[in-house]
């Protein structure tokens, strides 16, 4: 504690330099916060995907449908505990920019398979009783101010026209990562109204009796429909979510590349600033050694200065990133889970400290090795 004053007076002696160095950390950590938020938003489904669920798609493409008749066949296969299905609708509310994921689901089985979404019995019963009923997520309700009983006119993009839906429920989630901006409505309503692709679904979701049997079940499903007009490609939900995220590109590599460049630049900038600060104080450091400061104390003081700058700059950057993400998805629906997690903040702070330590170590070792006699002679 008694050395804190020394650290802060040294940082204050060139205020502009300290501000700019801390500013480098702030900008870098703000960027890091946003990159981590985007990464999580794009791959968030991977983290919440059920280990006991498989996704069955058309082998040709995600956008190609599968026959609804497959449901019963899949249901009878070994290790299959339950089956549901959904179809991508791709509608928007009032304006194209108000896009959000919306799909028609099998009202009978969907909630059984996705039991982690909490919907009250009354709301679910109201949804089942209303052919035009829909269930929405809390972020969607917040975004447009939808309430139970409201009527939502969805403009179809695949199936043109206005599709009138009634809000019958707002689900709750156990984990924040599961909060996406989405809407489910009854497959029966879609099937009744759409002019083409009748009798098909977008994908099946299969619940297996044991996650250990997932691979075997997936192979069996694909084998069952091989050489049929609608061959399937079955994956675990996690692999499906990861694959979906990777369609945008290798997000992890992208994030790592940008992050690495930013941090390397940060290291150079900060390392240079601290090296100059130490060089300017060569004589003072020699005097401190003369009055009894050990080499290790000098090293620690310089490192502490670097770490304090990193902690303050990095902390402010992360706080700003957090504030920015609290404003919600800035893309209007593309990144529905736009949230900077505590884990990412903690990792970012550690990263800032590591960068501070790396930037400070060379000047600090130089100061530690400073020979008093040589340094005093330079006065």
């Amino acid at each position: 504690m008694k050395f804190l004053h020394l650290i802060f007076v040294n940082l204050k002696r060139k205020k502009l330099r300290t501000l700019l160095t801390a500013g480098s950390f702030m900008v870098s950590l703000f960027l890091y916060g946003l990159l981590m938020t985007i990464k999580l938003a794009l791959s968030g489904g991977v983290d919440v995907a059920g280990a006991d669920r498989l996704v069955v798609l058309n082998r040709v493409s995600l956008i190609m449908p599968l026959p609804i008749a497959y449901k019963e066949q899949i249901q009878r296969m070994p290790h299959v505990a339950d089956v549901t299905f959904a179809t991508w609708f791709g509608g928007y509310y009032q304006d194209m920019k108000n896009f959000f994921p919306n799909y028609a689901v099998d009202a009978e089985s969907y909630h059984r398979v996705y039991s982690e979404y909490i919907i009250s019995d009354e709301e679910w019963a109201a949804f089942l009783a209303d052919r035009q009923g829909c269930i929405i997520s809390p972020p969607l309700a917040d975004r447009f101010g939808f309430k139970l009983g409201n009527r939502i006119p969805l403009e179809g993009t695949i199936w043109q026209g206005t599709w009138e839906l009634n809000v019958r429920g707002v689900y709750k989630v156990q984990r924040r990562e599961m909060l996406t901006s989405e809407l489910w409505f009854q497959y029966a309503y879609l099937e009744e109204q759409r002019p083409f692709f009748k009798g098909t679904v977008g994908w099946y979701v299969v619940k297996v009796d044991d996650p250990a049997n997932a691979v075997e079940a997936a192979k069996a499903i694909d084998a069952r429909f091989r050489n049929s007009p609608f061959e399937t490609k079955t994956d675990t939900e996690k692999a499906f979510a990861a694959g979906f995220a990777n369609q945008i590109g290798n997000i992890r590599l992208l994030i790592m590349s940008i992050g690495s460049v930013v941090f390397f630049t940060l290291l150079l900038v900060t390392g240079n600033a601290i090296a100059i600060a130490v060089r300017e104080r060569t004589n003072e450091l020699a005097v401190m050694k003369t009055v009894g400061f050990s080499d290790i104390s000098i090293l620690s003081l310089i490192m502490a200065e670097s770490l304090v700058v990193a902690a303050i700059g990095g902390g402010v950057g992360l706080a700003l990133a957090k504030l920015f993400t609290l404003g919600g998805d800035p893309t209007g629906g593309m990144l529905t889970y736009f949230y900077l997690s505590g884990k990412s903040v903690a990792a970012g702070f550690c990263l800032a400290l590591a960068a501070g330590a790396a930037a400070g170590i060379i000047p600090a070792v130089g100061a530690m090795r400073l020979k008093i006699v040589d340094a005093l002679r330079k006065v």
Partner: protein, 248 residues
């Protein structure tokens, strides 16, 4: 008592056969050659000699800032030339006070904070540190300037703050490297008065490096260094030097 013949014993400073060489490229420069010195506690010694004669080097070796090429430096019975860097730093903090020509105060710290610097390495409480610092600053007559920054002090005041820093941890030995070299005569005299008081009233053993014969006259003993060899001088109007061999 001061001896340069290497025959003393029990002195607070005992230097034996001290050699210090520097290397400039392949050229070997003998700065100190087989130097012997015994100084009892409470002595005030002045080192004089031409530039490059090894005065500051000798001071640095006594203060543990540099290591000898050969020979031994025993201070208070402890051989300091064999101490590790960390032990030497700790030893310096407890036993040695340094006063430099250019004061070497840290510009971003007040006089109080500069003087407090050596005490940060001790286990003294904040209140105890304050007491020691105030006592040291009052002793050098700077009690009313303790919260001034070095830039707000005159040269003489800066040097007094530097003396307070040197004595705040109550070291037994003070090493003064041309402490009046950057001051006018009046300020220089004030500084020399303080240094003399520290020797006479507080029993400090003082080594003063100076080019100024007036400053040297304040010392009990004046030693002359020339070409790495120590000569004992008697300040008796004119300096008459006798070499180690003569002394023996």
């Amino acid at each position: 008592m001061v001896r340069v013949d290497g025959n003393g014993s029990g002195a607070v400073v005992e230097i034996r056969n001290l050699d210090k060489k520097y290397y400039r490229g392949e050229e070997e420069i003998d700065v100190l050659r087989g130097l012997n010195l015994d100084v009892d506690a409470g002595e005030f010694i002045a080192f004089m000699g031409p530039s490059g004669s090894g005065k500051t080097t000798l001071l640095n070796l006594i203060g543990g800032l540099d290591t000898p090429t050969a020979g031994s430096v025993r201070i208070g019975g402890e051989e300091i030339s064999s101490l590790s860097g960390r032990k030497l730093a700790s030893w310096r903090a407890r036993h040695i006070g340094f006063i430099f020509q250019m004061y070497n105060l840290i510009p971003v710290l007040t006089a109080f904070q500069n003087v407090q610097l050596p005490l940060l390495l001790t286990r003294l409480s904040k209140a105890e540190r304050r007491k020691h610092v105030e006592a040291a600053l009052n002793l050098v007559g700077l009690g009313d300037r303790m919260h001034h920054y070095p830039r707000q002090l005159s040269g003489g005041q800066e040097q007094r703050a530097a003396i307070a820093r040197a004595i705040v941890a109550d070291p037994k030995i003070l090493l003064c490297d041309e402490p009046t070299g950057d001051l006018d005569r009046a300020s220089g005299d004030e500084i020399l008065d303080i240094i003399s008081r520290l020797a006479k009233e507080y029993g400090k053993t003082i080594f003063l490096v100076t080019h100024d014969p007036v400053a040297a006259k304040r010392a009990d003993t004046v030693l002359h260094l020339d070409k790495g060899t120590l000569l004992e001088c008697t300040a008796d109007g004119e300096f008459v030097c006798r070499s180690e061999e003569t002394a023996q």
